[in-house]
Amino acid sequence: MAGSNPNAKPMNLTLKVWRQKNRDTAGQLVSYPVKNVSPDMSFLEMLDVLNDDLEIRNEEPIAFDHDCREGICGACSLFINGRAHGPERGTTTCQLHMRHFKDGDTITIEPWRAAAFPVHKDLVVDRSAFDRIQQAGGYISVNTGGVPDANEIPIPKTVADKAFDAATCIQCGACVAACKNASAMLFVSAKVSQLALLPQGKTERKTRVENMVAQMDIEGFGACTNTGACAAECPVGISLENINKLRREFIVAKATSENVA
């Protein structure tokens, strides 16, 4: 492998992986030995190697989500050794490298666990609950016509920065996975803050927060108890400030919006 460290010794590991045929069957943890793992591999590459082995042996490869493999799409998930996206903070699983593990380690790999994220197969969960929350209000309505000048609307830099920080949420679901209540508050708060902070999002802000919170409850996510686990495990560092912003938005909307009942 290019740029690999010649001194890094290959490792032998034992994986305990959640295997589940489909939504309707029960699953279980199955042990697999993996040999000669380079410390320079990413966690997903290590799984690729195991899957190649399984295919050679005519066994069903392990299903897991991935796409960009560069930490920007949010597709990869995996609850690794009791942590969302593994032992490192501020990283996705595709950006986690095997050098954070030791030769001889046993690694437990589980899917995100939440009633709202049913297991599809093995380590793949259905995260469409997030999409439905987005559809409930995570957008702005724009009229067609001439394109307005981008600099026409003044936005203070501090506000733009906050909105941008909130906008970096990659919808990975680690916040839900890490939260003891499987609460989606961090995700929803990132989406609500991002839009509520900017002038273009203000028109629909009250209805937006009401609908998105309602959808969050319908999907069966838990309630927030301010443990802070979500923000600690979020790969892009969405801060708890957003959750408090969401609450202010929600309280003001409930008290003053035109939506009755």
Binding site: R83, P87, A114, A182, F221, G222, A223, G228, R247, I251
Partner: protein, 215 residues
């Protein structure tokens, strides 16, 4: 989210009750054979404002506990299948994850506590005592006697430890639940909440310890 807001408002209201309750109880330390405390207790049992606040307080507890049960159940249902391995100590504090457990300890304590002091003080069953020529109920002697029993003292001290941990998370959490968060003030609220929890619970815990060891 609405329910959580009630949780927070009732929780913070209960915190204000703790302050009043503690200040009143400090009269137990008056070196007057309990006269000041018994007069105070008489006032608390008969003043109309206090009687109304008593009902508000009861409602505060009931809403807090009811919402606690509903939310804990909702949160359990949100994760029907548990992880085989979790390392939550890496991302959150113990008290923040065990508010229901801590609350339950407080509730059990509360029942014992009310049964022993509040019920007889309010509905009769205490001995009489004469203070400045008038007859009063002697709650003071009940306090003194109760706190000669070692396991009773132990229950009190343990309950106050549980309350302290409940509030170390709960006080600042209550502000966050209301969206009251600002980088200028939040650090102060957190520090204040921590100090509040420790000082108030220590204050309560000293009472049984004082009567057990020093009286």
């Amino acid at each position: 989210m609405g329910r959580k807001i009630i949780m927070s408002i009732t929780g913070l209201f209960l915190c204000s009750f703790l302050v009043v309750h503690l200040i009143g109880n400090l009269q137990l330390f008056n070196d007057d054979g309990g006269a000041a405390f018994n007069l105070y207790s008489y006032f608390m049992a008969n003043n109309i404002v206090i009687r109304i606040m008593e009902i508000v307080l009861l409602l505060g507890f009931l809403f807090h506990i009811y919402d606690a049960i509903v939310l804990v159940r909702k949160n359990k249902a949100a994760r029907p299948i548990q992880y085989a391995e979790v390392r939550p100590q890496e991302n959150s504090t113990w008290s923040s994850r065990n508010m229901g457990l801590l609350g339950t300890v407080i509730l059990v304590f509360l029942i014992i506590h009310l049964w022993n002091f509040f019920v007889p003080a309010r509905f009769g069953g205490l001995e009489g005592v004469v203070i400045e020529g008038a007859e009063y109920e002697n709650l003071y002697i009940r306090v003194v006697e109760s706190f000669q029993i070692w396991w009773y003292v132990l229950i009190y001290v343990l309950a106050m430890v549980a309350l302290a941990y409940h509030l170390i998370h709960g006080f600042q959490s209550g502000f966050q639940t209301l969206g009251l968060d600002h980088k200028k003030y939040t650090p102060f609220i957190q520090m204040f909440g921590y100090a509040f929890s420790v000082i108030v619970c220590l204050g309560f815990a000293i009472i049984p310890l004082y009567f057990f060891f020093l009286y």
